[in-house]
Protein backbone atom coordinates (compact mmCIF):
# COMPACT_ATOMS: atom_id res chain seq x y z
CA UNK A 1 0.00 0.00 0.00
CA UNK A 2 1.34 3.39 -1.03
CA UNK A 3 0.84 6.05 1.64
CA UNK A 4 1.04 9.77 0.82
CA UNK A 5 1.38 12.57 3.36
CA UNK A 6 0.62 16.24 2.78
CA UNK A 7 1.18 19.58 4.53
CA UNK A 8 2.16 19.34 8.21
CA UNK A 9 1.65 15.58 8.28
CA UNK A 10 4.42 15.26 5.69
CA UNK A 11 6.65 17.59 7.68
CA UNK A 12 6.10 15.78 10.98
CA UNK A 13 6.61 12.35 9.44
CA UNK A 14 9.62 13.59 7.46
CA UNK A 15 8.66 12.01 4.16
CA UNK A 16 6.08 12.59 1.44
CA UNK A 17 5.32 8.92 0.82
CA UNK A 18 6.15 5.38 1.84
CA UNK A 19 5.07 1.93 0.77
CA UNK A 20 4.02 -0.36 3.61
CA UNK A 21 2.21 -3.63 4.08
CA UNK A 22 0.04 -3.36 7.20
CA UNK A 23 -0.65 -6.54 9.18
CA UNK A 24 -3.86 -8.40 8.35
CA UNK A 25 -5.75 -7.28 11.45
CA UNK A 26 -5.63 -3.64 10.19
CA UNK A 27 -9.07 -3.29 8.61
CA UNK A 28 -9.98 0.42 8.64
CA UNK A 29 -8.24 3.75 8.21
CA UNK A 30 -8.55 4.26 11.97
CA UNK A 31 -6.76 0.93 12.59
CA UNK A 32 -4.06 1.97 10.15
CA UNK A 33 -3.51 5.28 11.98
CA UNK A 34 -3.09 3.45 15.30
CA UNK A 35 -0.55 1.15 13.69
CA UNK A 36 1.30 4.00 11.95
CA UNK A 37 1.66 5.83 15.28
CA UNK A 38 3.94 3.05 16.49
CA UNK A 39 6.35 3.37 13.56
CA UNK A 40 8.34 6.45 14.62
CA UNK A 41 8.15 9.51 16.89
CA UNK A 42 7.37 11.55 13.73
CA UNK A 43 4.43 9.30 12.87
CA UNK A 44 3.25 9.46 16.48
CA UNK A 45 3.34 13.28 16.42
CA UNK A 46 1.61 13.52 13.02
CA UNK A 47 -1.19 11.15 13.99
CA UNK A 48 -1.58 12.27 17.62
CA UNK A 49 -4.98 13.93 17.12
CA UNK A 50 -7.27 12.11 14.70
CA UNK A 51 -9.70 15.07 14.71
CA UNK A 52 -7.16 16.93 12.56
CA UNK A 53 -6.66 14.08 10.08
CA UNK A 54 -8.46 13.69 6.78
CA UNK A 55 -7.84 10.94 4.24
CA UNK A 56 -8.42 9.84 0.68
CA UNK A 57 -8.47 6.30 -0.64
CA UNK A 58 -7.67 6.01 -4.34
CA UNK A 59 -7.85 9.84 -4.57
CA UNK A 60 -11.42 9.97 -3.20
CA UNK A 61 -12.19 11.51 0.18
CA UNK A 62 -12.82 8.77 2.73
CA UNK A 63 -13.70 8.64 6.42
CA UNK A 64 -11.52 7.26 9.20
CA UNK A 65 -13.95 4.36 9.47
CA UNK A 66 -13.63 3.44 5.79
CA UNK A 67 -12.41 -0.11 5.16
CA UNK A 68 -8.96 -0.41 3.61
CA UNK A 69 -9.97 -3.39 1.48
CA UNK A 70 -7.35 -3.59 -1.23
CA UNK A 71 -6.58 0.14 -1.40
CA UNK A 72 -3.44 0.74 -3.45
CA UNK A 73 -3.03 4.45 -2.61
CA UNK A 74 -4.06 6.13 0.61
CA UNK A 75 -3.34 9.76 1.47
CA UNK A 76 -3.39 11.49 4.86
CA UNK A 77 -3.65 15.26 5.20
CA UNK A 78 -5.07 18.06 7.36
CA UNK A 79 -8.45 19.67 6.56
CA UNK A 80 -8.10 21.41 3.19
CA UNK A 81 -7.47 25.17 2.99
CA UNK A 82 -7.54 26.10 -0.68
CA UNK A 83 -9.33 28.95 -2.37
Amino acid sequence: MKLLYFAWLREKIGQAEETLTPPQHILTVRDLIAWLRTRSPGHAAAFADTRLIRCAIGQEFASLDSPLDSAAELAFFPPVTGG
Partner: protein, 167 residues
Protein backbone atom coordinates in the same frame (compact mmCIF):
# COMPACT_ATOMS: atom_id res chain seq x y z
CA UNK B 1 -25.30 23.06 -24.71
CA UNK B 2 -22.73 23.24 -21.92
CA UNK B 3 -19.07 23.10 -22.81
CA UNK B 4 -16.74 20.90 -20.77
CA UNK B 5 -15.51 22.85 -17.77
CA UNK B 6 -12.07 24.42 -18.04
CA UNK B 7 -10.02 23.17 -15.05
CA UNK B 8 -6.44 24.35 -14.51
CA UNK B 9 -4.01 23.83 -11.62
CA UNK B 10 -0.88 25.82 -12.36
CA UNK B 11 2.02 27.78 -10.88
CA UNK B 12 1.67 30.50 -13.53
CA UNK B 13 -0.57 33.52 -13.16
CA UNK B 14 -3.84 33.73 -15.09
CA UNK B 15 -5.62 36.59 -16.85
CA UNK B 16 -9.19 37.03 -15.53
CA UNK B 17 -10.17 39.22 -18.50
CA UNK B 18 -9.01 36.63 -21.03
CA UNK B 19 -10.78 33.88 -19.07
CA UNK B 20 -14.06 35.84 -19.10
CA UNK B 21 -13.74 36.41 -22.84
CA UNK B 22 -13.43 32.63 -23.42
CA UNK B 23 -16.87 32.14 -21.82
CA UNK B 24 -18.69 34.62 -24.05
CA UNK B 25 -20.98 33.44 -26.83
CA UNK B 26 -24.25 34.09 -28.64
CA UNK B 27 -26.28 31.95 -26.20
CA UNK B 28 -24.70 33.53 -23.11
CA UNK B 29 -26.69 36.11 -21.20
CA UNK B 30 -24.15 36.70 -18.48
CA UNK B 31 -20.81 35.66 -17.02
CA UNK B 32 -20.11 35.84 -13.29
CA UNK B 33 -16.71 35.30 -11.70
CA UNK B 34 -14.70 35.39 -8.48
CA UNK B 35 -10.98 36.13 -8.35
CA UNK B 36 -9.23 35.31 -5.09
CA UNK B 37 -6.16 37.40 -4.17
CA UNK B 38 -3.44 36.65 -1.60
CA UNK B 39 -4.14 38.96 1.34
CA UNK B 40 -1.34 40.38 3.50
CA UNK B 41 -3.46 40.32 6.61
CA UNK B 42 -6.43 41.66 8.46
CA UNK B 43 -6.95 42.90 11.99
CA UNK B 44 -4.19 43.06 14.56
CA UNK B 45 -2.32 39.80 13.77
CA UNK B 46 1.11 39.64 12.10
CA UNK B 47 1.07 40.34 8.36
CA UNK B 48 1.59 37.60 5.79
CA UNK B 49 4.65 38.02 3.54
CA UNK B 50 3.96 34.96 1.33
CA UNK B 51 1.71 31.92 0.92
CA UNK B 52 2.76 28.52 -0.38
CA UNK B 53 0.05 26.33 -1.90
CA UNK B 54 0.54 22.58 -1.80
CA UNK B 55 -1.86 20.15 -3.47
CA UNK B 56 -2.44 16.47 -4.23
CA UNK B 57 -1.65 16.08 -7.95
CA UNK B 58 -4.23 13.93 -9.70
CA UNK B 59 -6.82 14.12 -6.95
CA UNK B 60 -6.94 17.91 -7.20
CA UNK B 61 -7.94 17.93 -10.86
CA UNK B 62 -10.49 15.16 -10.25
CA UNK B 63 -11.98 17.03 -7.27
CA UNK B 64 -12.27 20.30 -9.22
CA UNK B 65 -13.90 18.48 -12.16
CA UNK B 66 -16.40 16.96 -9.74
CA UNK B 67 -17.23 20.38 -8.26
CA UNK B 68 -17.73 21.84 -11.75
CA UNK B 69 -19.94 18.89 -12.74
CA UNK B 70 -22.10 19.47 -9.65
CA UNK B 71 -22.54 23.13 -10.59
CA UNK B 72 -23.43 22.18 -14.16
CA UNK B 73 -25.98 19.63 -12.93
CA UNK B 74 -27.57 22.23 -10.67
CA UNK B 75 -27.70 25.25 -12.97
CA UNK B 76 -28.05 25.60 -16.74
CA UNK B 77 -24.51 26.82 -17.45
CA UNK B 78 -23.10 27.41 -20.92
CA UNK B 79 -19.55 27.28 -19.53
CA UNK B 80 -17.59 27.02 -16.31
CA UNK B 81 -13.94 27.70 -15.39
CA UNK B 82 -11.87 26.87 -12.29
CA UNK B 83 -8.21 27.91 -12.07
CA UNK B 84 -6.13 27.44 -8.91
CA UNK B 85 -2.51 28.43 -8.55
CA UNK B 86 0.07 26.41 -6.61
CA UNK B 87 3.52 27.21 -5.27
CA UNK B 88 4.72 30.38 -3.53
CA UNK B 89 2.57 33.50 -3.96
CA UNK B 90 2.95 37.04 -2.65
CA UNK B 91 0.28 39.38 -1.28
CA UNK B 92 -1.66 41.01 -4.11
CA UNK B 93 -1.14 38.06 -6.48
CA UNK B 94 -4.03 36.08 -7.98
CA UNK B 95 -4.58 32.72 -6.29
CA UNK B 96 -7.91 31.35 -7.56
CA UNK B 97 -10.43 32.09 -10.30
CA UNK B 98 -13.90 30.65 -10.80
CA UNK B 99 -16.38 31.73 -13.43
CA UNK B 100 -19.75 30.57 -14.73
CA UNK B 101 -21.65 31.60 -17.83
CA UNK B 102 -25.36 31.14 -18.37
CA UNK B 103 -28.31 32.44 -20.35
CA UNK B 104 -29.47 34.18 -17.15
CA UNK B 105 -27.71 36.04 -14.39
CA UNK B 106 -29.20 34.12 -11.47
CA UNK B 107 -27.66 30.82 -12.50
CA UNK B 108 -24.26 32.38 -13.23
CA UNK B 109 -24.08 34.32 -9.96
CA UNK B 110 -25.19 31.42 -7.76
CA UNK B 111 -22.97 28.92 -9.55
CA UNK B 112 -19.91 31.07 -8.88
CA UNK B 113 -20.67 31.24 -5.17
CA UNK B 114 -21.27 27.49 -5.10
CA UNK B 115 -17.99 26.80 -6.95
CA UNK B 116 -15.85 28.82 -4.58
CA UNK B 117 -17.66 27.56 -1.46
CA UNK B 118 -17.14 23.95 -2.53
CA UNK B 119 -13.60 24.50 -3.72
CA UNK B 120 -12.62 25.72 -0.25
CA UNK B 121 -13.82 22.54 1.44
CA UNK B 122 -13.62 19.81 -1.21
CA UNK B 123 -10.39 20.26 -3.14
CA UNK B 124 -7.07 19.02 -1.72
CA UNK B 125 -5.07 22.25 -1.35
CA UNK B 126 -3.17 23.40 1.73
CA UNK B 127 -1.78 26.86 2.48
CA UNK B 128 1.34 27.60 4.49
CA UNK B 129 1.87 31.24 5.51
CA UNK B 130 5.15 33.03 5.92
CA UNK B 131 4.71 35.88 8.38
CA UNK B 132 6.64 39.14 8.59
CA UNK B 133 7.85 37.94 11.98
CA UNK B 134 9.77 35.16 10.16
CA UNK B 135 7.43 32.47 11.47
CA UNK B 136 5.96 29.89 9.06
CA UNK B 137 2.67 28.16 9.82
CA UNK B 138 0.01 26.02 8.17
CA UNK B 139 -3.33 27.76 7.79
CA UNK B 140 -6.11 26.07 9.79
CA UNK B 141 -9.44 25.25 8.15
CA UNK B 142 -12.28 27.61 9.03
CA UNK B 143 -15.59 26.31 10.37
CA UNK B 144 -17.32 29.12 8.44
CA UNK B 145 -16.10 27.61 5.15
CA UNK B 146 -17.54 24.19 6.05
CA UNK B 147 -20.83 25.86 6.98
CA UNK B 148 -20.98 27.74 3.66
CA UNK B 149 -20.50 24.54 1.65
CA UNK B 150 -22.94 22.59 3.83
CA UNK B 151 -25.59 25.28 3.33
CA UNK B 152 -25.72 24.42 -0.40
CA UNK B 153 -26.69 20.84 0.46
CA UNK B 154 -29.41 22.08 2.79
CA UNK B 155 -30.89 24.14 -0.07
CA UNK B 156 -31.58 20.90 -1.94
CA UNK B 157 -31.04 20.15 -5.59
CA UNK B 158 -34.33 19.92 -7.46
CA UNK B 159 -36.50 22.80 -6.31
CA UNK B 160 -33.83 25.44 -5.95
CA UNK B 161 -32.17 24.60 -9.25
CA UNK B 162 -35.45 24.59 -11.14
CA UNK B 163 -36.33 28.01 -9.75
CA UNK B 164 -32.90 29.45 -10.33
CA UNK B 165 -32.80 28.43 -13.98
CA UNK B 166 -35.93 30.45 -14.64
CA UNK B 167 -34.60 33.68 -13.16
Amino acid sequence: MAESPRILVQAADFNPGAELARLAGAEVGGIASFTGIVRAGQGAGPRVSALTLEHYPGMTEAALSKIAARAQARWALTGCTIIHRIGRLLPGENIVFVAAASAHRGAALRAVEFLIDYLKTSAPFWKAEELETGERRWVAARAADDAAAAAWNARGVGGAAARENKE
